[in-house]
Symmetry: D2
Subunit: 346 residues, 4 copies
């Protein structure tokens, strides 16, 4: 029987996760929530997802009708019809929501905007699927941490130990967000080291990592400049590192010089050609000609699509919590094949 | 029997037109051309489009094999298998190409980068489908002219005459083009009046129009600030103009205040939600609350997706040249329904 | 005896006006106000301007000492030592402030952020110096209106009548303001027509003008795309219009093609070479090769340095209110020569 | 007797160095060169600098007269009247020029756009003034290397050894350069490690350093994210590092939270308030609240004004070559005081 999945918060991440879940043969969307009638409801209707209100308040529920949308009820009613809820509500309301989910007896998945201690368990497909098997609640790590996990965990697995410094060059606003700046400036994140890197240790505590972050005037991707110190005797070369990364799931390695993909603009254009909805790129993009191993120090750049790399991870996390697929590579393969089939990008 | 369509130049516009053509039940893709093996070939292969070389040169043709792509031959061979060719090659090579197309006995459609006098005939679905019926060659007007045609032609048809001044605020580079600036400046187009507005008169000579243009540091859409002088006794109101525009094909009218779509960023985000390939927006976007009729002067803003608004127009133009559909509204409806069905956005 | 000038609000505009006033032989700075100790106080100290608190509140006044700055007292004390106050406080507090200024018997000058009806009198050096002679309070019009006044008033004076449509392409944030976006979008101002153009009629009611405005992702200048309808029999040519503009005070006319000044970036770089403090450009910049007269329709582009074009106008306005210089051209010449001498840009 | 200084190449750097040199009591400008008459000549005339042609070609020399500028002759004539030439010509012509300078018996200073091996000697005031005393030719290191030198050399001097990884977030174009992009993308420099960091070793070979670089869509400053490994037993704390940096010449340390200077936009605005010509910032800006020492790993951010931090270094380098001031701190103090006096920023 298909796992019934509720999406609490049908926004930037929620709408993407809903599509990815709906594409899976072992899952179905029980419903999605919005706080009020808006353009997002239109999309839910078009997809055929039952629409619920984020609140159980009768007035707010009936406001949907007034706005021209059929609302199936409040959050409680949705939870009663679900096995797992994916919480895609705005950050920092996780603790409060978790209580509701527990009371309803529904397993819960949070996003990286929430702190690790809401669930005391975090998730990344490539890092700790095993540790999440059968859990009641977990947190899919942020887009940045997911990106680090995809490339650093296999390196750590190969080397046995790894010490990493990462500078995160972050897009300052999402493409659909016109309110935020800066227009012409660089903004260092003055909390040093930043929280971004160390968050990786919630899914792979064996990697020692710190990070610095700066925000820059672009909307489309983050770029990580990574410096990893390998243990002596690592036995790797620049070429073998490239090969190791190339064989990881959800990692794309391309040569910038040969492909003329030299900036995040061309990476995103390639993603549009691939043809996923919203022009998304679920994969982490690594520039082959930006990888360089100097003695024990490994340098590389990777680009992160902040709106979508966590999307398939949420699908895998559902399987971890339900225990329906214990092998992370099998889940990843199943998730990605189903999305490709549904979005015509196979 | 389906019209066999060749796409000469499988780039930004060519790849989109190819998909739109392939979606039509009365057309099929005979093949697409590339100058050399590259990532664009990958896309053609995935779509199942026969791949040809832009040149008839044997060395260049065999370079495709070396690059790992099967090449069916040179341009001449493709033309021999086609009824109509859509020329999406870089601008200003039209005259030269037209000679080849004529020699091959293939009808030809050029893009707005070419000057009107290459064909002495231009095309816009809403303006002059009739005048193009059965022609040997035409030019689909540019993204900007197409945008003007969609909203100004119905206004002119209603009023009988129209004098227009338009300031075009243009994106300085496409999303996948990282080389061009400016990063932090406004660049007026010092050819005054600019060529953009008057190009509308190639498809609707009765509208009197001039334009000024400035380029600004954004990649996603052009915005037109339009001032139209209506003849006295026009009988219109701000509300009736909104209604007139709302009922035009390929025009979306939305209230910026209510929908929170207040910039081109949110317009493009809505387009991504609609879900066409590449996040395209074939429609012209008009802000309802930006329309204002003051006595005989009409003001409004419209946003143009420079990469895609001409795509369905090319499909209609094919039908005009073959004469397979004489009614423009019928062609538009057929084109758009087929694209919606193929791209799952119906 | 020198006119004693108070600057209420020592921020972006206030700091510039203070320097310009201090450069004049017939004026002196009585003091400047800040709301609290901050980096701006540093600048006032360095310039030798007495520092006052915007409020009369003792606690706020003594906070300056704590912050390491000598504060001479509250606003009342400053007004008691001044003949004229230039109000450079944030917009929309003008009405409230005017009451204080009147009570203190001090003449007052407001900035364009305030509405005209605060004073029922507005000021632009080139438009209505006469009408401001001896007045108790006036408002120097905004940077945009000042720019329109500099070029349109002489055209109107030559032609006798003028009907204008102007599209204002506005920088979305100032250079020192990193919080505002958009990063990658165009934002139309949906109040149509915008308030910008018609504000010109507060200083020159004989010009008929409307405007549209869009905000774009740049920080350095506004650009106006102007379409002016001249009365028939105007007797002007493109060349004579260029000549007319070239001979106006505080207007720079340069050929973009020859000077390679083709965007606002190069205009601002030229301003840095001129060498005024903050790299300011008090003049309106008109591209000679962007001026074009087509029958009775005149097209041109002008660039406006939003932070500084009103600065010398404030100095002239002081002379208008005190009646110390009745000829606007004489005041302009005196103002500009004194600034040039003080800033070494003569 | 004053050192006679020629400036070969009166562009972005040359015009600034000329002003800085002219401000010194022990130096005078013998002349400046331009390749052809242009707006830059205007500036030289205004400053009273003799104007020469970059070439000895008679036709090119007389073109200046045609353009309305008095030209004193070709480069050879200028060199005959100079003791030292500062080469500010576009990069990569250094070797060719050096031959001319040697033949004329003039000492020469190159800029960081030239490779170290043109002179086999490089210069940074804080690093190796001594090693440059009496030399015939040297190269002032680039803006980035100068920035690294200012903060890392004193750290190294304190600690005895230092291993550094630096990620350089670079502005993609200068403020007056409107042609270059990207508008909305991040561009990693795929040469890894980049040449930027290791260039520091040309002036301080004892520091071990590598770097990664990315270009971002801003025009105003570079930001360095620095990770330095200190030797154990360094005896430093976060506070003592801040103090060490605060006491270095040409380094400004400010608290971003308290000063509200949180991005490069506000840093540049502060520079405009300081009031140097062109709004320049000769100092390296370090955010106090971005400095953090974690055990032996020191993190900090610094911002670099790419157009001007090397300007005073050129003045010091002149004194090193002539041997007129053997103590680097004395030269720095003299240079900076003279600039402050000339530009009214004391």
């Amino acid at each position: 029987m298909a796992t019934r999945v509720a999406i609490n918060g049908y926004g930037t991440i929620g709408k993407r996760v809903a599509d990815a879940v709906a594409a899976q043969s072992d899952m179905e969307i029980a419903g999605v929530t919005k706080t009020a009638p808006s353009f997002g409801c239109e999309l839910a209707v078009r997809r055929g997802f039952p629409l619920y209100c984020t609140f159980d308040d009768t007035a707010r529920i009936s406001a949907f009708d007034t706005g021209g949308y059929e609302c199936a009820g409040g959050l409680s009613k949705l939870l009663a019809a679900a096995d797992v809820v994916v919480d895609c509500s705005p950050g920092k309301t996780g603790g409060e929501n978790l209580a509701k989910y527990r009371q309803a007896g529904v397993k819960a998945i949070f996003q990286g905007g929430e702190p690790h201690n809401v669930t005391d368990l975090s998730y990344s497909s490539s890092a700790n699927h095993d540790a999440n098997l059968g859990a009641d609640a977990t947190r899919v790590v942020s887009c940045n941490t997911t990106g680090l996990s995809r490339t650093l965990v296999p390196l750590w697995q190969h080397c046995g130990s790894l010490a990493v410094e990462c500078t995160m060059v972050r897009r300052a606003a999402d493409p659909g967000d016109s309110g935020k700046g800066p227009i012409n400036a660089i903004k260092p994140v003055l909390k040093v080291p930043s929280h971004h890197g160390p968050d990786l240790m919630t899914v792979c505590p064996e990697i020692s990592i710190n990070s610095l972050a700066v925000a820059v005037p672009t909307t489309i991707m983050h770029v990580h400049a990574i410096v990893a110190t390998l243990p002596s005797g690592h036995g790797l070369t620049t070429e073998s590192v490239v090969e190791l990364l190339r064989t990881q799931p959800r990692v794309i390695v391309m040569h910038g010089g040969e492909s003329r993909i030299t900036t995040t603009a061309e990476v995103m254009e390639m993603a549009r050609d691939i043809g996923r909805r919203w022009g998304d790129l679920h994969e982490i993009f690594v520039w082959e000609d930006g990888v360089s191993l100097q003695d024990d120090t490994l340098y590389y750049f990777q680009a992160i699509h902040q709106e979508s790399d966590v999307v398939p991870e949420n699908v895998d996390a559902i399987r971890a919590l339900t225990g329906s697929e214990t092998d992370w590579r099998a889940s990843v393969a199943k998730t990605d094949a189903a999305i490709a089939a549904a979005q015509g990008t196979g």
